[in-house]
Amino acid sequence: MKFTSWMVARREPRQGSWQSGRREFTVFEVWHVIQKRRRLIALVMLLVTAAAIIPGLLRETSYTAEAVVSVEPRRGFEAGGQSEMPLQDITRLVSEDQRFMAVAADRAGWGGEEAAFGERLDPVPASGAVGETRLLVRFSGSTAEEAEKAANSYAEVFAERVNELGRERLVGGTLGATASVERVAVSPARLPGVGLLPYVAGGLVAGVFAGSLAAVALEPRSRLWQGVRDAELTLRVPVLGAIPEYAPEEK
């Protein structure tokens, strides 16, 4: 064994002075432990990733369809001091109508509860041309046909309701707008695999972190001295020799 003098110069503590940092792990020591226990970390990573993927695999496959509703100011409507209602308020007003969701679900042929229908629905306001606003109606269904039908049904019922409210005169303001389905939803294609990606990524990151923690926690209790370098990094003093096991036990 060659004794590396550079290790002595770097590691040997100054005699007569107590270095308060000795009782703490250095980044270099942690990295050395992680490198030594690569297999343990890899195993933990695999286990954690497998556990993280299970919810993704068990998750129900869903298809998302999107229809677009265009809302524009009523033509020829000239405000005689009456204010135009913003689209957010229109959406809120329509969605708060208890009958609206029921009508949309019924028209879509939804067999489940209205609350479940509402949970799968995701109406997103978006900006359109000048003076126009749009509503992106997204629905996540178990099948492509279900998603398409539900998105279109909601879009149609929404447009009908906006037009209906426009014909009715509201107290405190006038809904000076008309709505129409700008684009109907079509049967979406399934996108397999994309849904699992976040689970895999999260599992890998969590697995590496958990494996590293386990490696660092197990290291002090270890009796696996892997040679001179390992001993020097652990003890931070020069290791002058490594003697193989040969002698009978000394009591």
């Binding site: 004794f3 107590w18 002090p220 001295w225 003890l235 020069p238 020799g241 193989p244 000394e250």
Partner: protein, 209 residues
């Protein structure tokens, strides 16, 4: 008569002896070796680390390099060097600490240039004997006739409790067993030795697989 394993230990040309030769070479590379480092206390992190074997092996390697070496068994509660070498323990360290004759005369030559001094008769108070100035003077007297003195002493926690053993000699060599000593224990002992301002020359990793 020492058994075959001990003979292999004392033979620098053996498969085991070459490792001790490396240890001796690394020790000789120390700048203070020979002048400021003439006596070395060899202690283990816990019982069974192989301090006595390391003392004999290192002593034999240094002797083979031409140095006149003495190995002194200071384990007064568990003398073992004489047993390992198959020699009696009627006289030794405790006999020579009285100052009547040099300690050199109470040992036996195991190989050319290698003197081993057993403990001798065990006194009623071993701890007090190891903390006495007579003991220190006797070992220092050995340095006049020998180039290097190795002291096989009790484990490090007891070494720390003895100011004489830990500071009256030129340095301390800690022995750690690769298969028995946990890293946590070894790290703690090393930290304790350094914290006590002991001149920790280095560590020997014994029992590597």
């Amino acid at each position: 008569m020492p058994d075959a394993e001990i003979l292999r230990l004392l033979d620098p040309a053996s498969s085991t002896g070459c490792h001790y030769a490396d240890l001796a070479r690394n020790l000789r590379l120390k700048p203070e070796f020979g002048e400021k480092l003439k006596s070395l206390v060899v202690s283990g992190s816990e019982p069974g680390t192989g301090c006595s074997s390391v003392c004999l092996g290192l002593g034999a390697a240094l002797a083979a390099s031409g140095y006149r070496v003495a190995v002194v068994d200071c384990n007064l509660d568990r003398p073992c060097l004489h047993r390992m070498l198959g020699e009696p323990n009627f006289k030794g360290l405790t006999s020579g600490s009285g100052g009547e004759r040099e300690l050199e005369r109470y040992g036996f030559e195991v190989s050319p240039n290698l003197l081993v001094v057993p403990t001798g008769p065990i006194p009623p108070s071993p701890e007090a004997h190891l903390n006495s100035q007579e003991f220190v003077r006797a070992v220092r007297g050995l340095e006049k006739s020998r180039d290097f003195v190795l002291l096989d002493v009790p484990v490090a926690p007891r070494l720390l409790g003895s100011g004489t053993l830990s500071r009256s000699f030129d340095g301390v060599l800690l022995v750690v067993h690769a298969a028995r000593t946990t890293k946590q224990t070894a790290r703690r002992i090393t930290d304790d030795l350094l914290e006590a301002d002991v001149n920790l020359v280095g560590v020997v990793l014994n029992g590597c697989v």
